[in-house]
């Protein structure tokens, strides 16, 4: 593996301009002050974040995702390139989904193999020929990107179902502004706090044609036992809309209503944080107590907007991912602005052969896996693990893809031994309304706190950072 690109310090030890003020500040501030502020941040998080906790049957388990107080910085120029690429990618995802659920031209043209669609568990035959409001499917996307050098961002994963983490983006910024006002005076940081405002405008723009002039928006949560419940209630609170559970809604004559103290009230847009499988026991899993019976029927009748649309999962798994550059070219006639990580599809025999021959160099992932589970990091694996994956790959090659181990960029991070470089990724959030695409400058930066580790997932010891986009003054 090559030496990773550090976002603050060049190979010759000089500081990149975007980090100049931060670097000066870091070298002047005594370590105990940093440590004090870190503890203060943790204290504040615990107070508000008491509800980040995951509750087991009998006991509360505090699950605070570690927060690193050193911000990650992008220049305005870097951000503009990145956001153009994100917009392009999201447009392509929406066109792809519209096509998949209607004419399927991309399959006829042989660009994407049919079985990737038809045999995909996230494919929803119920959506075939189904018109969705404004022809949009992915209204809220979380596109994970990583950086490998000064100029190159790769997309690592498209999250087109119910991406989470945006509450951390907002809370991290709040805490940073509270703890380090002097840093914000020295750097012109583009604000992110208007995200929920932009989200509300996006959601309202998506209301179905049959709705009232001021559409009623709700956030649908699986309930308090869901690990992202805090985010759901946070968003509903900031949006100023009701946080509903399935039982608060009912469907009559294909119109969705919520039960209020003043009687039934029509609902036009549902920002649902509930997987397809659970939204309607009449259409999908009959054992789901979380959903709303009849919701799909109201949806099909065009009387309610679900964000994201049903069936978007067919666009964001790791096998489809490898076709994204072709998908962008097919619908937009443009070259992709953001690169894809080179990917071997183990479903293709020559790719499989290459992967089996180079297991110790590659990262092997399950097509439908997430959260950093079920993957092999070749260079760090022992013989037994490699042999285990060799057997798995031979048995079910369709279920896997492989990628080179990327040298993810590093950012200065405050860890036990002081300030040290740690690998990071970035999840910006792309909002697609019927009027326009909105992206607030920033996102959620996740950081692998262990030295050398490439796994940034919070379930496996990852932390988060505030992400700054600097405006040229």
């Amino acid at each position: 593996m090559s030496v990773a690109f550090d976002e603050m310090t060049n190979a010759d030890g000089s500081i990149r301009p975007a980090y100049a003020a931060l670097s000066r500040w870091l070298s002047n501030v005594p370590p105990d002050v940093l440590d004090y502020r870190r503890r203060e941040a943790e204290f504040i998080f615990r107070r508000i974040g008491i509800t980040f906790a995951v509750y087991g049957e009998s006991d509360a388990q505090e699950r605070l995702i570690p927060f690193d107080i050193i911000p990650r910085i992008l220049t305005g120029g870097e951000w503009r390139r990145l956001s153009l690429g994100l917009e392009q990618r999201t447009k392509a995802l929406n066109l792809y989904l519209k096509d998949i659920y209607s004419r399927r031209e991309i399959l006829k043209a042989g660009v994407v193999p049919e079985d990737l669609v038809y045999q995909n568990p996230a494919f929803r035959p119920e959506m075939n020929g189904q018109k969705v409001p404004h022809d949009l499917y992915v209204h809220i996307a979380g596109i994970d990107v990583v950086r490998v050098d000064a100029d190159t961002f790769y997309v690592l994963e498209d999250n087109a179902r119910t991406p989470s983490g945006v509450s951390y983006m907002l809370e991290n910024r709040e805490i940073m502004m509270r703890l380090f006002p002097e840093l914000f005076a020295e750097n012109r940081v583009a604000p992110v706090e208007n995200y929920t405002d932009e989200l509300l405008a996006t959601l309202k723009s998506l209301a179905p044609g049959t709705s009232n002039s001021d559409p009623a928006v709700v956030v649908l949560t699986p309930g308090i036992y869901n690990s992202a419940y805090y985010e759901h209630s946070f968003l509903a609170d900031k949006l100023g809309v009701e946080l509903v559970e399935g039982r608060d809604l009912f469907v009559r004559n294909d119109i969705v209503y919520m039960r209020t103290t003043e009687g039934p009230r029509r609902v036009d847009v549902i920002y649902r944080r509930l997987d397809d499988d659970f939204i309607d026991p009449l259409a999908f899993r009959p054992d789901s107590a979380l959903g709303v019976p009849g919701l799909m029927s109201a949806y099909n009748a065009g009387n309610v907007t679900l964000t994201n649309a049903v069936g978007t999962g067919v666009a964001d798994d790791k096998a489809v991912y490898s076709y994204m550059p072709d998908i962008i070219r097919f619908y937009l006639g443009e070259e992709p602005l953001l690169k894809n990580v080179p990917t071997w599809r183990c479903r293709e025999p020559d790719h499989l052969k290459y992967v089996l021959d180079h297991l110790n160099e590659l990262v092997v992932k399950e097509v439908h896996g997430s959260g950093g589970y079920g993957m092999l990091i070749g260079p760090r694996a022992d013989k037994a693990q490699i042999e285990l994956f060799r057997a798995k790959l031979k048995q079910d090659p369709n279920n896997f893809i492989a990628q080179p181990t990327l040298a993810l960029s590093t950012c200065p991070t405050f860890v036990e031994e002081g300030i040290a470089p740690r690998h990071v990724d970035l999840r910006p959030f792309v909002l697609t309304g019927s009027d326009k695409v909105r992206i607030v400058p920033g996102g959620l930066t996740r950081v692998a706190l262990e030295a050398g580790s490439l796994v940034v997932n919070s379930s496996q010891g990852g932390g988060t950072k505030d992400t700054w986009v600097l405006e040229e003054s």
């Binding site: 509800t51 509903a236 608060d248 209020t260 103290t261 003043e262």
Partner: protein
């Protein structure tokens, strides 16, 4: 607002009030049971406590006829088998609070959450009397904090009014049940004025609604049974009296009706109950039967609960 949110707020307040009431009942019962028999101390008090808490049946299902001090305390304070034990009240209150997190102020949430965490420190096994006393005052302080936080920090809108209605419906129910279980010691014909036995019974009723001191300020007399009944039923100064509860219930239900621009069954019933309380005199109540009067009240109060439920919470 969402019916579920209103329902959660209503029951959240009911459960906090219930926990407080249970703590008082246990406090008073322990005090009374410790008295020498000549002063009215008897183990029957533990049976009364179960009756007042309204869970004699559930207790029997778990412990049979073994109504010992230890069993009753465990059952009323901690038992998971008792849906209304203090512990369950706090658990339910917290679950409700989490699911209406956006309708609560930070101060209310912190009170509920921290008391729920603190609750885990009290174990039921081998609790000394001192620990039990600490536990009781912890419960009472929690409900004071919750009530104060709600009063000081909530917006005056339907969320606040529903939580108040819940609290006062529960409080009226508790006061009525205390009276119902002890009504016989308040009857004129069982009266032995000045007898120590009855004094401690009457005083314990007052204590269970924390009104022993108030009694003297209101009547400036020694404790007399009809005055105890008057204080708890008709006296509007007494914050746990049935009249006071219904003044509040009526007021908050009217606030809701004005806000929504529509009156309904709950407003009508609350007003008619308040009117009936206002037209009652203690002499008449004793004449027609204290027990019957309270019985009717409990039934009507329950009916109000279900009408509120139908009108707003479903």
């Amino acid at each position: 607002m969402l019916s579920r949110t209103a329902d959660n707020l209503y029951w959240l307040s009911r459960y906090m009030e219930r926990a407080d009431c249970l703590a008082r009942i246990l406090d008073v019962t322990q005090r009374l049971a410790q008295l020498p028999a000549a002063y009215g101390g008897s183990t029957n008090e533990w049976r009364s406590a179960l009756l007042t808490a309204g869970c004699a049946e559930q207790f029997k299902a778990v412990y049979g006829d073994d109504i010992s001090e230890q069993n009753v305390i465990t059952f009323l304070a901690f038992s998971p088998e008792n849906p209304s034990s203090i512990r369950n009240c706090f658990e339910i209150a917290r679950t409700n609070a989490r699911s209406v997190r956006t309708a609560l102020t930070m101060e209310m949430w912190e009170t509920i959450n921290s008391s729920w965490l603190e609750l885990k420190r009290y174990s039921t096994k081998n609790m000394t009397r001192e620990e039990l006393a600490r536990f009781m005052s912890f419960v009472k302080e929690t409900s004071l904090r919750f009530d104060g936080a709600a009063y000081r920090t909530m917006l005056r809108n339907d969320a606040f009014w529903f939580s108040r209605v819940g609290m006062y419906v529960e409080r009226a129910d508790n006061t009525a049940r205390i009276l119902d279980v002890k009504y016989h010691v308040l009857l004129p014909d069982s009266e032995h004025i000045g007898g120590p036995l009855d004094y401690f019974q009457w005083a314990s009723i007052l204590r269970s609604v924390s009104a022993l001191t108030s009694f003297h300020w209101v009547y400036r007399e020694s404790v007399k049974p009809w005055l105890v009944a008057d204080l708890l039923i008709l006296n509007a100064q007494m914050p746990r009296s049935l009249t006071s509860c219904y003044q509040n219930i009526t007021r908050y239900l009217d606030d809701i009706a004005a806000y929504y621009g529509r009156q309904g069954g709950s407003q009508r019933l609350a007003r008619s109950t308040l009117t009936r309380l206002g037209n009652s005199r203690m002499e008449d109540i004793f004449q027609t039967g204290l027990h019957e009067y309270i019985d009717t009240f409990v039934t009507e109060n329950n009916r109000l609960g279900s009408i509120v439920n139908e009108q707003y919470l479903l």
